[in-house]
Every structure is written in structure tokens, then in C-alpha cells.
Amino acid sequence: MAGELPVMAALLLVAVAGTAVVLARDPVRQSAVLAGLGLSLAVLFAVLQAPDVALSELAVGTAFTPLMVLLSVRKVRHNARRSERREEHE
């Protein structure tokens, strides 16, 4: 039972982080929490003896996904501002 303590701790972290991702309504803040979920998942995979999967999750979760989300947010905000300006114009 005591041997499973790391697994239990990592599962707790993943459950907390996953819930927080859903509850963070602002996409920019959500992307930071998503990176946190990626880290927690990587730790869980490491204690489940899956270093290959943990590497995969780290490679994708730390920089790639946040960069993509932030770039999308930037474009979406830009489009929204433009659309507002257009409505004011009309």
C-alpha cells in the first residue's frame, strides 16, 4: 500500500489540475493551467513506469500547446476588435 503512495499523489494532482483547466474560463489563463495539467500528467506517467509517454507529454505540453493556444487567442482577439470596429463603422 505504501509503495503506491507516489501513484496516489500523482493521481490527486492530475484530478486537481484537470478540474482547474475546465474551471478556468479565460483561454489565456486556461493555457497556463493546461501546461500545469501536462506537468502533472508527466509525473503520473513517470510513476506509472511509462517514461516514453511522459517524454511525449512533456514535449507537447510544456511549450507547443501553450504557444498554439496563445497565438490563436491573439488572432481571435484581433478579429473580434476588427469586427467591433466594423459594426461601429456601419
Binding site: 503512495l5 507516489p6 489563463r29 501546461a35
Partner: protein
């Protein structure tokens, strides 16, 4: 469960969990600073796990994390620098975050180095430790530097 795994558990619950909660709540700058701290702590947990499970090959995870973690933080610095620098943090906060991000690294890396067999693994561990210290210091500095502070 051996001492290394116990240490990893303790670091996970006493270090990583608070950092994760910091990422989940609060204003954006605090979240990004906490995320940087969480990256460093996660890398240290990986090192402890590698030693605890007697698997030197697990250190690759810490290596990748040490290399990519600062990149993830700098992405925010680059794309949201206006929002992040809207308010200047107190110097005390800056100092505390710098110490929190650097101090645990030698506390973990040196014992793990001492326990591991001398050779390529030691060099790799020291390299990871150096990367973690440099990345953590730099990210904290970049995130807390005053607006328009380019040199």
C-alpha cells in the same frame, strides 16, 4: 518504498501541489511565475524518481523538461508582455520567487549525484542542474523586470 521515493512524494505534495494551485488561481503573472516554479520542481521530482526506481534512463525526462520548461515560460513573456508587466511586483516577491526556483535544485541534484555511480550519469545530472538554475533564474528575472527594461 525507499527514501528517494519518499522524498519525491514529499516534494510532490509540499512543493509541486502548492505551485500547481498557484497556477490554477490568481492573476496571470502569478500563474506564469508559479508555472515556472512547477516546471523546476517537476524536473527535480523526475530526478528523485530516477534514483528511487534505480533507473538512470529516467533522467531523460528531467533533461527534456529542463530544456523545454523555460521555453514554455518565455512564450508567455513574449506574447503577453504588456499584460504581464502591467503591474510591477514588489522586490520581495521577486527575490522570494528567485530563491524558491533555485534553492531546491542543489538540494536535490547533489545528493542524487553522490548516490549515482560516478561517470556519464553524474555529468548529465550536473548539466541538468545547471540548466534548471539558469532557466529558472532567467525566467523569474524576465517576468519581474520593469517595463521597458531592455538592455
Amino acid at each position: 518504498m525507499n527514501g528517494w521515493l519518499a522524498a519525491a512524494c514529499a516534494l510532490l505534495l509540499a512543493g509541486f501541489l502548492p505551485a500547481l494551485l498557484g497556477v490554477c488561481t490568481g492573476p496571470l503573472r502569478r500563474r506564469v511565475l508559479a508555472q515556472n516554479l512547477a516546471t523546476v520542481l517537476a524536473a527535480l521530482v523526475m530526478l528523485l524518481l530516477a534514483q528511487g526506481y534505480q533507473r538512470p534512463s529516467y533522467t531523460d525526462m528531467a533533461l527534456v523538461l529542463a530544456v523545454l520548461g523555460p521555453v514554455g515560460t518565455l512564450v508567455y513573456e513574449r506574447l503577453l508582455s504588456d499584460e504581464l508587466r502591467a503591474a510591477r511586483p514588489r522586490p520581495r516577491v521577486t527575490r522570494a520567487m528567485t530563491v524558491l526556483g533555485v534553492a531546491p535544485v542543489p538540494l536535490v541534484v547533489i545528493p542524487v549525484c553522490a548516490a549515482a555511480t560516478w561517470g556519464r550519469t553524474t555529468l548529465k545530472l550536473l548539466f541538468i542542474g545547471g540548466l534548471l538554475v539558469a532557466g529558472s533564474t532567467l525566467c523569474t528575472r524576465a517576468l519581474t523586470s520593469p517595463p521597458g527594461g531592455e538592455g
